[in-house]
């Protein structure tokens, strides 16, 4: 059954040019489900990298600009869009030339999946 979910995520990956990986984790960066292409940078899939966003979004929410929803990081060759879907975090890793707007739109396609996966975290 997890395979169905991974297939769905892989289809989403192929629907956006330059998208390399979709990782859904808990607040500590432990992956709940992960789909990645071979081109995805291995370092960006490590829990240290993924979990940092959980704390960064908490701190960014204290700037009197209401709760932080997403953080987009641009690197030399890659871009990383991370979404706060408490209690889950969604990380999208893409090439630098990928359309960032399309990546930010991806959460609409993940709503159903996130609703189901929230049960995994809350039940634990």
């Amino acid at each position: 059954m997890t395979e169905d979910l991974k297939t769905y995520l892989n289809k989403l990956i192929s629907s956006v040019e330059g998208l390399l990986a979709i990782v859904i984790t808990d607040r500590d960066g432990v992956p709940v489900v992960k789909a990645a292409t071979e081109q995805a940078p291995e370092l960006a899939l490590r829990p240290n990298f993924l979990g940092t966003f959980g704390m960064a979004t908490d701190q960014a929410s204290k700037l009197n600009l209401s709760q932080n929803k997403t953080i987009t990081s641009m690197y030399k060759n890659y871009q990383v869009v991370q979404m706060n879907k408490s209690p889950l975090l969604v990380t999208l890793i893409a090439t630098r030339s990928a359309n960032t707007g399309l990546l930010l739109e991806m959460d609409n396609y993940l709503l159903d999946v996130l609703k189901d996966l929230q049960q995994v975290i809350t039940a634990s």
């Binding site: 169905d4 709940v32 829990p47 701190q59 995994v120």
Partner: protein, 167 residues
């Protein structure tokens, strides 16, 4: 003499007059409000307990401290909150099992959506294609509009900013 001043009731006088000074309590406003209320039969029968003000102060202080701690942006806490390797693997395995259970209970299959821009794709797909004449008409119109826009020139006649009402 200054140390004896408080012993002789100078503070009480200030409190009685209701004038705040450097010794008046910042958090004791609730108790003061109680004291200034008119004396009635009910207030006489249930006097304010003497232990209440310090407790209120303590809880107010705790509340302020908690709120401040919550609002402080502490980047240092981000570092050094690593997870043990075995704990990470254990939790990942646990999530894997849970995902299997949750997805097994799910009835409808996951299918990628159509883009949001097309709410009724069947109407768009079933529509008659645009005729070549229409395309030429629009192309010509756009070309003429672009040419006209290029030919637009601004002739300077007078200043855009004019002094108004200045003698």
């Amino acid at each position: 003499m200054g140390c004896c001043n408080s012993c002789f009731g100078a503070d009480k006088e200030a409190d009685y007059a209701g004038i705040p000074d450097e010794r008046s309590r910042l958090l004791g406003s609730t108790t003061r409000t109680v004291q200034t209320q008119p004396v009635s039969g009910e207030s006489l029968s249930s006097p304010v307990p003497t232990g209440a003000p310090p407790k209120d102060e303590q809880s107010a202080l705790t509340r302020i401290l908690t709120k401040t701690a919550r609002n402080v942006i502490d980047v240092a806490t981000i570092e050094g909150q690593g997870m043990e390797q075995h704990e990470y693997h254990e939790r990942a395995r646990h999530y894997g099992q849970k995902v299997n259970v949750v997805m097994a209970n799910k009835n409808k299959s996951l299918k990628p959506f159509l883009p949001n821009g097309v709410s009724a794709p069947q109407i768009v797909l079933a529509a008659q294609p645009i005729s070549v004449g229409d395309i030429e008409l629009i192309s010509n119109a756009a070309f003429k509009a672009a040419k006209a826009m290029k030919d637009v020139k601004v002739q300077h006649k007078e200043d855009l900013v004019v002094a108004f009402g200045v003698p």
